[in-house]
């Protein structure tokens, strides 16, 4: 049983290859390594999951119940229409934090909302991989 499950949505696996001016040049694997290293410093065990499938993300959220203490989720483009993911997050009894590499408020109009953040404890958006590190620090504390 890990402390924290990190869920990355569609196209995040292409990090470092995709739109570098927006997402930076760190590769997805380098990002995983960096997160794990930081988690270790905090004495946190972390599982990282990535999928391009809305359904797989929902499956994974459901399986998290009882096996992790908190979820960090970057729903990628599903942020803007994946109500089913919102429901999955509501369905389980775990604190979740939504993260974004880029600042969604500085992008296209259709990216300046989130259908999922409202059922998370909060959102951290715009700090690249640091968004995850910050979420790690905050994510497993009991909500208050």
């Amino acid at each position: 049983m890990s402390d924290v499950l990190i869920i990355n949505g569609p196209n995040l696996n292409l990090l470092g290859k995709r739109e570098k001016e927006i997402y930076g040049s760190l590769s997805y694997e380098e990002m995983e390594t960096l997160i794990q290293k930081e988690a270790k410093k905090m004495n946190l065990s972390v599982s990282i999951f990535q999928s391009n499938h809305e359904g797989e993300i929902i499956d994974r959220i459901q399986k998290a119940a009882g096996s992790v203490k908190a979820i960090i989720i970057n729903p990628g483009a599903y942020t803007h229409y994946g109500i089913s993911i919102r429901d999955a997050l509501t369905s389980i009894n775990l604190p979740a934090v939504e993260v974004h590499l880029s600042n969604i408020f500085a992008r296209e109009h259709f990216r300046q909302n989130s259908v999922t953040a409202g059922v998370c404890r909060g959102m951290i958006s715009g700090f690249g991989v640091e968004s995850y590190i910050l979420a790690l620090q905050i994510g497993i504390l009991p909500a208050h």
Copy 2:
């Protein structure tokens, strides 16, 4: 070949664990049992399918053509944006009934519409597991 195929969308498998004040405390398995029992009374054979994946739901709808007489579908949150499911329902030549456990008109604003119901024979919303039972009674009759 069953008489009726019941398709349950995302997060319905968590029934009884999820938001009990909205969905009640009956578990998903108990619901299946209850539906099967009622179907038996009506002399109907029923297959029940659940998936969190929009794609799998579409696959399953497509496979239903020629193998069942009617479909009962609770598209879960896909109700509100799953146009691909709407198209799948249109693609096959079977009567379908949309059901919802909760009354979607008494929930958040973004749940008070359906992109899928318009291609079904009708919708039954708000009666818990009874929504399915009612649909069973009505679902396999030829549309009029």
Copy 3:
């Protein structure tokens, strides 16, 4: 004191004469007879009321308090703007079910909403007179 009060809104009295391609050829009187016959099978006493007047519908809903166990209402076109009927349904302490002969989601855009269903237990839409029969079965059970 009846078990169930059925309220039919404007133009439903013309059933069988009006837009048969949408509403079918059953006459209003035949529908009443059919509903009463089915109710009898369920051992339910049923009163049926029809009016084209929003005010009379409100009056009738108010008088239902203490004299029936449940209401089945087809508000006709008032479904889409009759907030006063919504308030009347809220005012009394009775379970109500909204029914529609046609599937409102398959009709004009301005018919794909309901200002009244949100204060009912649920909605059954699209099954012709069967919408009423289903509602009878479900309507008098205590809400859960």
Copy 4:
């Protein structure tokens, strides 16, 4: 059996007393007389009905089936939200013409639409009592 039924909606009975700068100074009774005189010239028998009640207007429309050859209707403010009147006009098999004393396109924004005209043969708006006279001439011809 009259040739034409004229239906006047809410507040039209106050004609000549109400907002004269918009509706002119002709009284309602004078308007009735004037219409009857013109109808006589055309050899048309005309019944005129006025009500402030949406329900009564619907009742009257329904009763018109089989007893008149055409309807002229000025739905007053119900023009803008009386979908039940629209349905009543659809329910019966009679040509109808919608008339307005004032030009609804030159008034408040919320008056520049009509939920009822779409099921009439057409609309005549803005010519005071002449709107009715014109409708009389056109109204009883078979639609083409």
Copy 5:
């Protein structure tokens, strides 16, 4: 001839029985008594009228012309769509005050507007029966 006519719209007759957390536990009859008592103190004769029918409310407003000095109206849910009532208030030459028991701005989004208040002298909303008492004090003064 009374000084003031008070018109209460749909469902207000259920006061004290209906949604007490919003409208309080005073009954409609007690409210009438209370208003009459207060009116007496101000030396005002008051008629109180209640109807669930939009048409009857319009009829009553029209009859008020020449028989009362001012109108106090709580249009209930018609506040939000009863343009015909707006027109009736415009048709007669009397100062009117719109009142609401509850604060419409603290309720559902669809209650936070008024199609009728724009043709009244003003609106008093949110003070229970006191809304009427305040309106009595202000209502019969000439507009300024």
Copy 6:
């Protein structure tokens, strides 16, 4: 100097060839003849102008000042966006009547408005060539 100038907008010259199910089978030339015949009966001289060009329609309206007593205009599709035509109608001091062959309220959503009718005396919509005949009768009377 004619009594009345009739202006027909884009595509009306194709009458009888174009979408006959909407506009009927009368040809444009037959319509002109019919209108002239009816005008003669009324002792009215009529000029008829047709153009597909918004600019030519504006030019023609401007030239009408001082040379005709009234304008009848069917702006065709410019009805829905030709604000320049609206301004031309406002610029000259002549009564104008807007006419439509078809009932614009029974057509596509984007045809159910008029940017030009608000500066005319009124609109007659839905009666085929009769719309023009009615306008002839009403159009040259002084506005009241």
Copy 7:
């Protein structure tokens, strides 16, 4: 410690000089005197504060906590966008009443809403200085 704090928003200090056809000819000072005189009759001590600054209004609301029993606020144009004032009213534990000299429902479209009234006990709009007098009578009573 006063009983009631009256807060007047931007441009109210120009009363009697500004748009007299809307706000009347009473000067701001005369209004203060009139309010104080009426308050005295009711045995109420009243402080009156006016500012054109959203921030000063917020400061003053905050300071009111513990020093007055109720607030009467006319937020002027901030009524329509001053969410910070709404939050200030929510922050303190005092009954508040929103007042307006003019009837906001009879003015420009952008003035027919209030972002602040929803957190007050109610709103009194349209009665000139009487709006304040009425609020004084109602304002310090415990909410019910």
Copy 8:
């Protein structure tokens, strides 16, 4: 390594069985054969992929990087909400062409937009299987 990857979204596999009045009677297999035959004439090797799953479509797009020269995509109903597919197309460095069998501008209002076409070189819509053939001809040319 193929020259061109063709991706077909949800329900396209039912071609020839589904809504023939819109999509024609050619079967999906016949369409594949036809496209391959035409590609051969152009000396192009083509891979064709179909899935009902948004996630699988994204996976397939990602895998295309480095293995094909161009993508032709018919996103089916995901055209209207699949922002994740848009991001996948942006993520890889390949020219893409969006195609539709039917003319999306001649269908329901909710089908008259595309969230994916903006990141393609262009769109070809409405020519049945010819849409693909045209795209083949244009698709592998360098963008200009």
Copy 9:
């Protein structure tokens, strides 16, 4: 009589001079030559017409009836508001194809729609002059 009429709307004559980053550096005359050369290869005779005038475009479309077999139209900016052009295309009985040099879905929000494409057989957008060549190939086939 030509096989195909190509109609180019406003500002297309400036091709090669105007916004080269969007439209490329090919001049309008070079584009005409290129299209004619390609048409010759296909054994098609082609007439090309350009106008900045909405009215002239409508005139030209009308004259095409009976003289060409198909129309290719690039309505330029009229794409977004020229309903009169839409009507002209509907008026004649010829297959039409809408083309755009640039990808309208990748441009300003107000360019991402078309009021004309819905009455064409389809749209080809984004391929520079190739859009025309593709349309030539497809345009004269009978619609299917």
Copy 10:
């Protein structure tokens, strides 16, 4: 070759005859004279062009390239929908200034925007003929 081309859109030729309360009583010819006189003082040669035709305005803008140094344009009602004029202004490489006689922000809601001003250097609105004089002073300076 003139220094500045002034383009006046539809109905401006009626200046002094049209809606004098909005546009003043100066005639169009007097305005031309006045502008020429002022231009002379500034040592500027000015050509003035007026047309009611959107197409002619586009033609004239296109011809301006290479023959004038700057454009002053009052697009009249085309300001609100003439995207083709916007494109013409973008097509040529000349500084342009948009002017309006009246203050468009103080007029009807549909006049409070401009589809053309965004491609001009700026807009001067509300100062009658002075709007042109000011534009003359500013218009031929290089943009900064």
Copy 11:
């Protein structure tokens, strides 16, 4: 007493330091000097006021009554939501001109409107400091 008061809203004091690509490199002090120099040439005395506070801007406008002959205002970002400033401008009896350094119609969508310009004589937008110079020339003339 100055002839003209110039009011600059929030962040204009940073001119020359802020977003030079939009506002140019002239510093605020240099702009003041330049304006004063030009005013001197016109024999106008000018006071210039800058504040980041909406309230201070309102205060300053109010104090201008009786002490200056005209106001030139650049409300900065308050242009888009500062209804209180609009009211202040309405409250005093002075001609005002709204100016903007940049062309607001060429910027973000939320900057393409003005809540304040409707109560000014007009707007000059897009000419850098020249916008002020032009306004000086026009501003103190009596409105016509």
Copy 12:
């Protein structure tokens, strides 16, 4: 010169007294102490500023240029309409982070947007005082 300037907007000074169910029971002073303690651990000097005045917040942001390395801002309710604050943040050349105590996506609809976050590096929302601590860690790093 501090490393980081923290700016707190309206009503944040009431922390611990205001809506504790949303903002927690920590007082504003305790929050300041806590932040300073955490900053010390990170070897960061921090200045904290609070104001209810939009203008003062803008002033403070402007003064920060050259005196701090980064800004952390919680604009309170100005988040939703304070475009002037957005401009101030753009005006200076400093990285900024927007923070919120509560999760704005889980609150009223009108709080689920931000006009200021788009010009910050990112947003951290929903973690109480921890939002500030996280921002401290991230805020002074150079943007990447």
